[in-house]
């Protein structure tokens, strides 16, 4: 494979390409992400407060909050508006739970043409699947540690 000299050359080229490649202004992008993400969280907070005022406990209110945000995101994806929010907001549209819902909805809509089972069925998880897998794996792994520590009496 590549020798040391080649690797050195590749590194130099990569550095050179990076130097001449323009990038989005980071402060501006961060400001947009801040604004977009912040607003989505405010909507979430409004749902939380509304649910709590109706007498729901913290956990139930949180569930309603996720549910409604996901619904909104799927609707916006269907109307082709979420890509525009994502283009403007960057991480601000990606990080909230709405970004997760967008990735599921976009895949479902796009891959419908490839059939119910191998189209939507498989590919609905194209982007969201890893999130579910590693979420479950990491919580299982830490849960296992917790379980063992509990068994040997560290936690009572």
């Amino acid at each position: 494979m590549a020798t040391e000299q080649q690797k050195q050359k590749q590194k130099e080229y990569e550095k050179y390409v990076k130097e001449i490649t323009p990038t989005h202004s980071l402060p501006l992008n961060m400001a947009k992400a801040f604004l977009t993400g912040g607003l989505i969280c405010v909507i979430g907070q409004w749902i939380l407060n509304f649910a709590k005022n109706r007498g729901l406990d913290q956990e139930m209110a949180g569930s309603w909050c996720s549910l409604i945000l996901i619904l909104l995101s799927v609707i916006l994806t269907g109307l082709n508006l979420y890509p525009k929010i994502g283009k403007f907001g960057g991480a601000g549209a990606l990080v909230p739970i709405t970004g997760f819902a967008n990735s599921v909805a976009a895949s479902a809509i796009e891959y419908k043409a490839e059939g119910q089972v191998f189209g939507i069925g498989c590919k609905i998880f194209t982007i969201a699947g890893p999130v579910i897998l590693y979420g479950i794996m990491s919580s299982w792994f830490l849960g296992l540690i917790y379980y063992i520590l509990k068994a040997i009496g560290v936690f009572v």
Binding site: T23, L26, M30, A31, A33, F34, T36, G37, G38, I40, C41, V42, G44, Q45, L48, N49, G62, S63, C65, S66, L67, L69, I70, V74, T77, P83, G90, A91, G92, L94, V95, P96, I97, T98, F100, A101, V104, A105, A108, I109, E110, K112, A113, I120, I124, I127, P130, V131, I132, Y134, G135, I136, S138, S139, L142, G143, L144, Y146, Y147, K150
Partner: protein
């Protein structure tokens, strides 16, 4: 007040992730995975709960909060059911989010068509 806290904490998390996106060329999919796993870890070591108490939706709406939900559900299941809880906790906890995303998206796929970007 809780709206302001939600706004600036949620916004700040997003702005920080934007640095990650712009500076490291990490693909969005990897960033999402990273956030959920971080959420699980931060919750397990007890750092995330105080943030959620302070910022409300500002901490629970970002995917870090999804990780927190997973961890809380896992812990609760282990406390209640012991070993088998390790295998019920995760999916029970994220059931609302995942089911909602899948069900609504499936319905959307029946109604909507993919659209060209301008």
């Amino acid at each position: 007040m809780d709206y302001i806290n939600a706004f600036w904490v949620g916004g700040l998390i997003c702005a920080l992730v934007q640095i990650l996106l712009d500076k490291t060329k990490l693909m969005p999919g990897r960033v999402m995975v990273l956030l959920v796993c971080s959420g699980v870890v931060l919750s397990a070591v007890g750092i995330y709960q105080p943030l959620t108490d302070y910022a409300g939706a500002g901490a629970s709406v970002p995917l870090l909060g999804f990780g927190q939900v997973l961890w809380k559900g896992m812990k609760k299941a282990i406390d209640k059911d012991g070993f088998i809880g390790l295998f019920t906790g995760g999916f029970t906890a994220c059931a609302v989010g995942v089911s909602a995303a899948l069900i609504f998206s499936y319905i959307a796929s029946l109604v909507c068509k993919p659209k060209m970007r301008e």
